[in-house]
Symmetry: C6
Subunit: 79 residues, 6 copies
Protein backbone atom coordinates (compact mmCIF):
# COMPACT_ATOMS: atom_id res chain seq x y z
CA UNK A 1 0.00 0.00 0.00
CA UNK A 2 3.03 2.27 0.35
CA UNK A 3 3.66 2.19 -3.34
CA UNK A 4 0.47 3.10 -5.18
CA UNK A 5 1.99 3.79 -8.56
CA UNK A 6 -1.44 4.36 -10.03
CA UNK A 7 -1.76 7.63 -8.08
CA UNK A 8 -1.01 10.70 -10.14
CA UNK A 9 1.68 12.75 -8.45
CA UNK A 10 3.31 14.29 -11.54
CA UNK A 11 0.64 15.64 -13.88
CA UNK A 12 2.94 18.24 -15.44
CA UNK A 13 6.42 19.80 -15.31
CA UNK A 14 4.98 23.27 -15.82
CA UNK A 15 4.93 25.59 -12.82
CA UNK A 16 3.94 29.22 -12.39
CA UNK A 17 7.21 30.47 -10.93
CA UNK A 18 10.88 29.42 -10.68
CA UNK A 19 10.42 28.83 -6.97
CA UNK A 20 7.54 26.41 -7.54
CA UNK A 21 9.79 24.75 -10.09
CA UNK A 22 12.45 24.36 -7.42
CA UNK A 23 9.90 22.77 -5.12
CA UNK A 24 8.91 20.38 -7.89
CA UNK A 25 12.61 19.46 -8.27
CA UNK A 26 12.72 18.64 -4.55
CA UNK A 27 9.63 16.46 -4.97
CA UNK A 28 11.16 14.63 -7.94
CA UNK A 29 14.33 13.96 -5.90
CA UNK A 30 12.32 12.47 -3.07
CA UNK A 31 10.19 10.37 -5.41
CA UNK A 32 13.46 8.98 -6.82
CA UNK A 33 14.49 7.89 -3.34
CA UNK A 34 11.00 6.54 -2.63
CA UNK A 35 10.99 4.50 -5.83
CA UNK A 36 14.03 2.59 -4.54
CA UNK A 37 12.76 2.33 -0.97
CA UNK A 38 8.93 2.49 -0.89
CA UNK A 39 8.73 1.45 2.80
CA UNK A 40 7.86 4.66 4.63
CA UNK A 41 9.33 3.66 7.96
CA UNK A 42 12.76 2.86 6.50
CA UNK A 43 12.46 5.96 4.30
CA UNK A 44 11.88 8.28 7.27
CA UNK A 45 14.61 6.59 9.31
CA UNK A 46 17.11 7.05 6.46
CA UNK A 47 15.96 10.63 5.80
CA UNK A 48 16.47 11.41 9.48
CA UNK A 49 19.97 10.02 9.18
CA UNK A 50 21.14 11.73 6.00
CA UNK A 51 19.57 15.06 6.92
CA UNK A 52 22.19 15.24 9.67
CA UNK A 53 25.11 14.21 7.48
CA UNK A 54 26.96 17.02 5.70
CA UNK A 55 28.02 14.99 2.66
CA UNK A 56 24.59 13.43 2.18
CA UNK A 57 23.01 16.89 2.36
CA UNK A 58 25.26 18.12 -0.45
CA UNK A 59 24.47 15.03 -2.50
CA UNK A 60 20.73 15.55 -1.97
CA UNK A 61 21.21 19.14 -3.13
CA UNK A 62 22.91 17.83 -6.29
CA UNK A 63 19.96 15.61 -7.20
CA UNK A 64 17.66 18.61 -6.79
CA UNK A 65 19.99 20.59 -9.09
CA UNK A 66 19.76 17.96 -11.83
CA UNK A 67 15.97 17.87 -11.63
CA UNK A 68 15.80 21.67 -11.52
CA UNK A 69 17.61 21.73 -14.89
CA UNK A 70 14.83 19.59 -16.34
CA UNK A 71 12.01 21.59 -14.78
CA UNK A 72 13.58 24.92 -15.80
CA UNK A 73 13.93 23.75 -19.39
CA UNK A 74 10.30 22.54 -19.37
CA UNK A 75 9.24 26.05 -18.37
CA UNK A 76 11.52 27.81 -20.84
CA UNK A 77 13.31 29.19 -17.78
CA UNK A 78 10.16 31.18 -16.86
CA UNK A 79 11.21 33.87 -19.30
CA UNK B 1 19.98 -16.89 -19.40
CA UNK B 2 19.73 -13.91 -17.05
CA UNK B 3 20.94 -11.57 -19.74
CA UNK B 4 18.80 -12.04 -22.84
CA UNK B 5 19.88 -8.91 -24.67
CA UNK B 6 17.77 -9.87 -27.63
CA UNK B 7 14.60 -9.13 -25.65
CA UNK B 8 13.12 -5.75 -26.39
CA UNK B 9 12.67 -3.78 -23.20
CA UNK B 10 13.16 -0.26 -24.59
CA UNK B 11 11.08 0.18 -27.75
CA UNK B 12 10.73 3.96 -27.33
CA UNK B 13 11.52 6.92 -25.06
CA UNK B 14 8.09 8.40 -25.69
CA UNK B 15 5.55 8.18 -22.86
CA UNK B 16 2.03 9.54 -22.44
CA UNK B 17 2.63 11.48 -19.24
CA UNK B 18 5.53 12.96 -17.20
CA UNK B 19 4.86 10.37 -14.52
CA UNK B 20 5.20 7.48 -16.97
CA UNK B 21 8.41 9.18 -18.10
CA UNK B 22 9.65 9.14 -14.52
CA UNK B 23 8.87 5.44 -14.31
CA UNK B 24 10.81 4.87 -17.51
CA UNK B 25 13.75 6.74 -15.95
CA UNK B 26 13.61 4.37 -12.98
CA UNK B 27 13.62 1.42 -15.38
CA UNK B 28 16.63 2.80 -17.27
CA UNK B 29 18.51 3.24 -13.99
CA UNK B 30 17.86 -0.36 -13.02
CA UNK B 31 18.82 -1.67 -16.44
CA UNK B 32 22.12 0.20 -16.05
CA UNK B 33 22.79 -1.66 -12.82
CA UNK B 34 21.64 -4.94 -14.36
CA UNK B 35 23.98 -4.50 -17.33
CA UNK B 36 26.93 -4.48 -14.92
CA UNK B 37 25.57 -7.28 -12.73
CA UNK B 38 23.23 -9.55 -14.73
CA UNK B 39 23.09 -12.20 -12.01
CA UNK B 40 19.65 -11.78 -10.44
CA UNK B 41 20.52 -13.24 -7.07
CA UNK B 42 23.45 -10.89 -6.52
CA UNK B 43 21.37 -8.05 -7.96
CA UNK B 44 18.54 -8.58 -5.48
CA UNK B 45 20.99 -9.01 -2.60
CA UNK B 46 22.71 -5.73 -3.47
CA UNK B 47 19.41 -3.92 -4.05
CA UNK B 48 18.24 -5.08 -0.62
CA UNK B 49 21.43 -3.64 0.83
CA UNK B 50 21.50 -0.23 -0.88
CA UNK B 51 17.76 0.33 -0.41
CA UNK B 52 18.51 0.58 3.31
CA UNK B 53 21.51 2.88 2.94
CA UNK B 54 20.79 6.61 2.96
CA UNK B 55 23.70 7.61 0.71
CA UNK B 56 23.03 4.88 -1.81
CA UNK B 57 19.38 5.89 -1.97
CA UNK B 58 20.36 9.46 -2.82
CA UNK B 59 22.78 8.22 -5.47
CA UNK B 60 20.10 6.00 -6.99
CA UNK B 61 17.81 9.03 -7.09
CA UNK B 62 20.55 10.94 -8.96
CA UNK B 63 20.78 8.30 -11.68
CA UNK B 64 17.02 8.51 -12.12
CA UNK B 65 17.34 12.31 -12.39
CA UNK B 66 19.89 12.03 -15.20
CA UNK B 67 17.71 9.57 -17.13
CA UNK B 68 14.62 11.70 -16.49
CA UNK B 69 16.38 14.60 -18.26
CA UNK B 70 16.78 12.41 -21.32
CA UNK B 71 13.22 11.08 -21.26
CA UNK B 72 11.76 14.56 -20.67
CA UNK B 73 13.71 15.96 -23.62
CA UNK B 74 12.55 13.05 -25.79
CA UNK B 75 8.96 13.97 -24.96
CA UNK B 76 9.47 17.71 -25.45
CA UNK B 77 8.71 18.00 -21.74
CA UNK B 78 5.12 16.81 -22.38
CA UNK B 79 4.17 20.34 -23.35
CA UNK C 1 9.36 28.98 11.48
CA UNK C 2 12.70 28.12 9.88
CA UNK C 3 11.00 26.88 6.76
CA UNK C 4 8.60 29.53 5.49
CA UNK C 5 8.05 28.16 2.02
CA UNK C 6 5.59 30.91 1.28
CA UNK C 7 8.43 33.47 1.24
CA UNK C 8 9.61 34.36 -2.23
CA UNK C 9 13.34 33.78 -2.53
CA UNK C 10 13.52 32.90 -6.25
CA UNK C 11 11.50 35.40 -8.27
CA UNK C 12 13.55 34.91 -11.43
CA UNK C 13 16.57 33.14 -12.93
CA UNK C 14 17.58 36.27 -14.85
CA UNK C 15 20.58 38.20 -13.60
CA UNK C 16 22.43 41.22 -14.92
CA UNK C 17 25.89 39.65 -15.12
CA UNK C 18 27.51 36.19 -15.21
CA UNK C 19 28.92 36.82 -11.75
CA UNK C 20 25.49 37.53 -10.28
CA UNK C 21 24.38 34.35 -12.03
CA UNK C 22 27.16 32.48 -10.23
CA UNK C 23 25.98 33.90 -6.92
CA UNK C 24 22.44 32.77 -7.72
CA UNK C 25 23.83 29.28 -8.40
CA UNK C 26 25.43 29.32 -4.94
CA UNK C 27 22.11 30.36 -3.43
CA UNK C 28 20.26 27.56 -5.25
CA UNK C 29 22.80 25.02 -3.96
CA UNK C 30 22.29 26.19 -0.39
CA UNK C 31 18.51 26.19 -0.72
CA UNK C 32 18.79 22.57 -1.90
CA UNK C 33 20.62 21.68 1.29
CA UNK C 34 18.19 23.72 3.39
CA UNK C 35 15.19 21.97 1.86
CA UNK C 36 16.52 18.66 3.20
CA UNK C 37 17.58 20.09 6.56
CA UNK C 38 15.52 23.19 7.42
CA UNK C 39 16.77 23.35 11.02
CA UNK C 40 19.21 26.26 11.05
CA UNK C 41 21.29 25.04 13.97
CA UNK C 42 22.00 21.64 12.40
CA UNK C 43 22.48 23.39 9.05
CA UNK C 44 25.16 25.71 10.41
CA UNK C 45 26.85 22.89 12.33
CA UNK C 46 27.00 20.74 9.18
CA UNK C 47 28.15 23.68 7.02
CA UNK C 48 30.93 24.36 9.51
CA UNK C 49 31.95 20.74 9.18
CA UNK C 50 31.92 20.33 5.42
CA UNK C 51 33.53 23.69 4.80
CA UNK C 52 36.66 22.22 6.35
CA UNK C 53 36.52 18.95 4.43
CA UNK C 54 38.33 18.88 1.08
CA UNK C 55 36.05 16.34 -0.58
CA UNK C 56 32.85 18.01 0.61
CA UNK C 57 34.14 21.35 -0.69
CA UNK C 58 34.63 19.87 -4.14
CA UNK C 59 31.20 18.29 -4.04
CA UNK C 60 29.62 21.61 -3.02
CA UNK C 61 31.43 23.20 -5.97
CA UNK C 62 29.91 20.56 -8.25
CA UNK C 63 26.36 21.38 -7.17
CA UNK C 64 27.06 25.05 -7.89
CA UNK C 65 28.35 24.03 -11.34
CA UNK C 66 25.12 22.17 -12.15
CA UNK C 67 22.97 25.12 -11.07
CA UNK C 68 25.24 27.54 -12.95
CA UNK C 69 24.47 25.61 -16.15
CA UNK C 70 20.78 26.26 -15.59
CA UNK C 71 21.20 29.94 -14.72
CA UNK C 72 23.57 30.53 -17.65
CA UNK C 73 21.09 28.95 -20.07
CA UNK C 74 18.27 31.06 -18.59
CA UNK C 75 20.33 34.17 -19.36
CA UNK C 76 21.34 33.03 -22.85
CA UNK C 77 24.90 32.97 -21.46
CA UNK C 78 24.79 36.78 -21.04
CA UNK C 79 25.67 37.16 -24.71
CA UNK D 1 48.51 -5.24 -27.33
CA UNK D 2 45.72 -4.55 -24.86
CA UNK D 3 45.41 -0.96 -25.98
CA UNK D 4 45.21 -0.85 -29.77
CA UNK D 5 43.91 2.66 -30.12
CA UNK D 6 44.10 2.40 -33.87
CA UNK D 7 41.23 -0.09 -33.88
CA UNK D 8 37.90 1.43 -34.76
CA UNK D 9 35.37 0.67 -32.04
CA UNK D 10 33.21 3.81 -32.34
CA UNK D 11 32.38 4.49 -35.98
CA UNK D 12 29.13 6.33 -35.20
CA UNK D 13 26.75 7.37 -32.42
CA UNK D 14 23.74 6.51 -34.56
CA UNK D 15 21.80 3.39 -33.67
CA UNK D 16 18.60 1.87 -35.01
CA UNK D 17 16.70 1.71 -31.74
CA UNK D 18 16.77 3.25 -28.24
CA UNK D 19 17.79 -0.11 -26.84
CA UNK D 20 20.81 -0.34 -29.13
CA UNK D 21 21.60 3.20 -28.04
CA UNK D 22 21.53 2.03 -24.43
CA UNK D 23 23.92 -0.76 -25.28
CA UNK D 24 26.24 1.76 -26.95
CA UNK D 25 26.11 3.83 -23.76
CA UNK D 26 27.21 0.75 -21.79
CA UNK D 27 30.07 0.26 -24.24
CA UNK D 28 31.16 3.90 -23.93
CA UNK D 29 31.17 3.57 -20.12
CA UNK D 30 33.37 0.50 -20.29
CA UNK D 31 35.75 2.10 -22.79
CA UNK D 32 36.12 4.99 -20.35
CA UNK D 33 37.21 2.58 -17.65
CA UNK D 34 39.47 0.74 -20.08
CA UNK D 35 41.16 3.96 -21.16
CA UNK D 36 42.30 4.49 -17.57
CA UNK D 37 43.20 0.85 -16.97
CA UNK D 38 44.06 -0.88 -20.27
CA UNK D 39 45.45 -3.99 -18.56
CA UNK D 40 42.77 -6.64 -19.10
CA UNK D 41 43.66 -8.75 -16.08
CA UNK D 42 43.38 -5.84 -13.63
CA UNK D 43 40.28 -4.66 -15.50
CA UNK D 44 38.50 -7.98 -15.08
CA UNK D 45 39.60 -8.27 -11.44
CA UNK D 46 38.23 -4.81 -10.68
CA UNK D 47 35.03 -5.40 -12.65
CA UNK D 48 34.49 -8.61 -10.67
CA UNK D 49 34.87 -6.57 -7.51
CA UNK D 50 32.63 -3.60 -8.30
CA UNK D 51 29.93 -5.74 -9.86
CA UNK D 52 29.31 -7.10 -6.36
CA UNK D 53 29.35 -3.73 -4.64
CA UNK D 54 26.01 -1.93 -4.38
CA UNK D 55 27.41 1.59 -4.48
CA UNK D 56 29.75 0.90 -7.38
CA UNK D 57 26.85 -0.63 -9.33
CA UNK D 58 24.83 2.56 -8.90
CA UNK D 59 27.80 4.66 -9.95
CA UNK D 60 28.35 2.51 -13.04
CA UNK D 61 24.67 3.00 -13.87
CA UNK D 62 25.18 6.78 -13.60
CA UNK D 63 28.00 6.76 -16.14
CA UNK D 64 25.75 4.84 -18.53
CA UNK D 65 23.03 7.46 -17.93
CA UNK D 66 25.37 10.31 -18.90
CA UNK D 67 26.47 8.53 -22.07
CA UNK D 68 22.87 7.61 -22.89
CA UNK D 69 22.03 11.34 -22.89
CA UNK D 70 24.67 11.87 -25.56
CA UNK D 71 23.62 8.90 -27.67
CA UNK D 72 19.93 9.80 -27.41
CA UNK D 73 20.62 13.37 -28.52
CA UNK D 74 22.73 12.06 -31.43
CA UNK D 75 19.75 10.03 -32.56
CA UNK D 76 17.22 12.82 -32.05
CA UNK D 77 15.70 10.59 -29.37
CA UNK D 78 14.68 8.06 -32.06
CA UNK D 79 11.59 10.12 -32.78
CA UNK E 1 38.39 40.76 3.61
CA UNK E 2 38.96 37.41 1.91
CA UNK E 3 35.53 37.47 0.39
CA UNK E 4 35.04 40.76 -1.45
CA UNK E 5 32.01 39.79 -3.49
CA UNK E 6 31.87 43.25 -4.99
CA UNK E 7 35.04 42.53 -6.99
CA UNK E 8 34.38 41.57 -10.58
CA UNK E 9 36.04 38.26 -11.37
CA UNK E 10 33.57 36.96 -13.99
CA UNK E 11 32.80 39.69 -16.51
CA UNK E 12 31.96 37.26 -19.31
CA UNK E 13 31.82 33.59 -20.30
CA UNK E 14 33.24 34.37 -23.74
CA UNK E 15 36.84 33.37 -24.41
CA UNK E 16 39.00 33.52 -27.51
CA UNK E 17 39.96 29.85 -27.63
CA UNK E 18 38.76 26.48 -26.24
CA UNK E 19 41.85 26.33 -24.06
CA UNK E 20 41.10 29.69 -22.45
CA UNK E 21 37.59 28.36 -21.96
CA UNK E 22 39.05 25.37 -20.14
CA UNK E 23 41.04 27.69 -17.91
CA UNK E 24 37.86 29.65 -17.17
CA UNK E 25 36.19 26.36 -16.20
CA UNK E 26 39.04 25.71 -13.75
CA UNK E 27 38.55 29.18 -12.30
CA UNK E 28 34.81 28.65 -11.91
CA UNK E 29 35.47 25.35 -10.10
CA UNK E 30 37.81 27.04 -7.67
CA UNK E 31 35.44 29.95 -7.07
CA UNK E 32 32.78 27.37 -6.20
CA UNK E 33 35.05 25.93 -3.54
CA UNK E 34 36.01 29.40 -2.34
CA UNK E 35 32.37 30.44 -1.99
CA UNK E 36 31.89 27.63 0.53
CA UNK E 37 35.20 28.22 2.31
CA UNK E 38 36.35 31.84 1.86
CA UNK E 39 39.13 31.56 4.45
CA UNK E 40 42.34 31.40 2.40
CA UNK E 41 44.40 29.53 4.96
CA UNK E 42 41.90 26.69 5.29
CA UNK E 43 41.39 26.79 1.52
CA UNK E 44 45.09 26.31 0.80
CA UNK E 45 45.42 23.63 3.47
CA UNK E 46 42.50 21.69 1.97
CA UNK E 47 43.75 22.19 -1.59
CA UNK E 48 47.13 20.83 -0.54
CA UNK E 49 45.36 17.80 0.86
CA UNK E 50 43.03 16.97 -2.01
CA UNK E 51 45.65 17.63 -4.65
CA UNK E 52 47.45 14.54 -3.33
CA UNK E 53 44.35 12.37 -3.15
CA UNK E 54 43.52 10.36 -6.27
CA UNK E 55 39.76 10.33 -5.78
CA UNK E 56 39.55 14.03 -4.95
CA UNK E 57 41.59 14.82 -8.06
CA UNK E 58 39.11 12.96 -10.24
CA UNK E 59 36.21 14.72 -8.54
CA UNK E 60 37.86 18.11 -9.09
CA UNK E 61 38.27 17.17 -12.74
CA UNK E 62 34.54 16.39 -12.89
CA UNK E 63 33.57 19.84 -11.62
CA UNK E 64 35.79 21.38 -14.30
CA UNK E 65 34.04 19.19 -16.88
CA UNK E 66 30.61 20.45 -15.85
CA UNK E 67 31.73 24.09 -16.02
CA UNK E 68 33.48 23.46 -19.34
CA UNK E 69 30.11 22.37 -20.78
CA UNK E 70 28.66 25.74 -19.82
CA UNK E 71 31.60 27.75 -21.12
CA UNK E 72 31.73 25.77 -24.38
CA UNK E 73 28.01 26.35 -24.97
CA UNK E 74 28.45 30.08 -24.23
CA UNK E 75 31.10 30.20 -26.95
CA UNK E 76 29.10 28.14 -29.44
CA UNK E 77 31.88 25.55 -29.10
CA UNK E 78 34.35 28.00 -30.73
CA UNK E 79 33.08 26.92 -34.12
CA UNK F 1 58.18 23.81 -15.84
CA UNK F 2 55.53 21.12 -15.42
CA UNK F 3 52.76 23.61 -15.91
CA UNK F 4 53.45 25.58 -19.10
CA UNK F 5 50.00 27.06 -19.56
CA UNK F 6 51.18 28.98 -22.57
CA UNK F 7 51.46 25.74 -24.55
CA UNK F 8 48.55 25.10 -26.83
CA UNK F 9 47.06 21.68 -26.12
CA UNK F 10 43.42 22.41 -27.03
CA UNK F 11 43.24 24.23 -30.35
CA UNK F 12 39.75 22.97 -31.18
CA UNK F 13 36.92 20.70 -30.04
CA UNK F 14 36.33 19.50 -33.59
CA UNK F 15 37.46 15.96 -34.43
CA UNK F 16 37.10 13.84 -37.54
CA UNK F 17 35.37 10.89 -35.94
CA UNK F 18 33.39 10.02 -32.76
CA UNK F 19 36.30 7.88 -31.62
CA UNK F 20 38.76 10.75 -31.87
CA UNK F 21 36.19 12.78 -29.97
CA UNK F 22 36.23 10.15 -27.24
CA UNK F 23 40.01 10.36 -27.08
CA UNK F 24 39.77 14.14 -26.77
CA UNK F 25 37.33 13.63 -23.88
CA UNK F 26 39.93 11.42 -22.18
CA UNK F 27 42.55 14.14 -22.70
CA UNK F 28 40.25 16.81 -21.23
CA UNK F 29 39.64 14.62 -18.18
CA UNK F 30 43.35 14.21 -17.61
CA UNK F 31 44.05 17.91 -18.10
CA UNK F 32 41.44 18.58 -15.43
CA UNK F 33 43.35 16.37 -13.01
CA UNK F 34 46.64 17.92 -14.07
CA UNK F 35 45.35 21.45 -13.49
CA UNK F 36 44.75 20.55 -9.84
CA UNK F 37 48.01 18.61 -9.44
CA UNK F 38 50.61 19.82 -11.98
CA UNK F 39 53.48 17.91 -10.33
CA UNK F 40 54.10 14.97 -12.68
CA UNK F 41 55.58 12.67 -10.08
CA UNK F 42 52.60 12.96 -7.74
CA UNK F 43 50.30 12.78 -10.76
CA UNK F 44 51.77 9.49 -11.95
CA UNK F 45 51.80 8.06 -8.42
CA UNK F 46 48.13 8.92 -7.96
CA UNK F 47 47.19 7.66 -11.42
CA UNK F 48 48.92 4.37 -10.64
CA UNK F 49 46.84 4.16 -7.49
CA UNK F 50 43.41 5.01 -8.86
CA UNK F 51 43.88 2.91 -11.98
CA UNK F 52 43.79 -0.12 -9.67
CA UNK F 53 40.77 1.02 -7.68
CA UNK F 54 37.37 -0.05 -9.01
CA UNK F 55 35.44 2.96 -7.74
CA UNK F 56 38.00 5.48 -8.94
CA UNK F 57 37.96 3.84 -12.38
CA UNK F 58 34.20 4.30 -12.62
CA UNK F 59 34.52 7.91 -11.49
CA UNK F 60 37.22 8.56 -14.10
CA UNK F 61 34.89 7.07 -16.70
CA UNK F 62 32.18 9.50 -15.56
CA UNK F 63 34.39 12.53 -16.10
CA UNK F 64 35.14 11.27 -19.61
CA UNK F 65 31.38 10.89 -20.19
CA UNK F 66 30.73 14.52 -19.22
CA UNK F 67 33.48 15.79 -21.52
CA UNK F 68 32.29 13.49 -24.30
CA UNK F 69 28.89 15.22 -24.15
CA UNK F 70 30.62 18.54 -24.81
CA UNK F 71 32.82 17.24 -27.60
CA UNK F 72 29.91 15.41 -29.26
CA UNK F 73 27.78 18.56 -29.21
CA UNK F 74 30.69 20.57 -30.65
CA UNK F 75 30.81 18.13 -33.55
CA UNK F 76 27.05 18.04 -34.06
CA UNK F 77 27.29 14.37 -33.03
CA UNK F 78 29.29 13.65 -36.23
CA UNK F 79 26.04 13.41 -38.16
Amino acid sequence: EENKKADTWLPSLVTDTPQEGFELAIKLSRMGVKSTQPNKEILFRERAEYSQDAKALIHASEVIAVHFQTVAEANDYWK
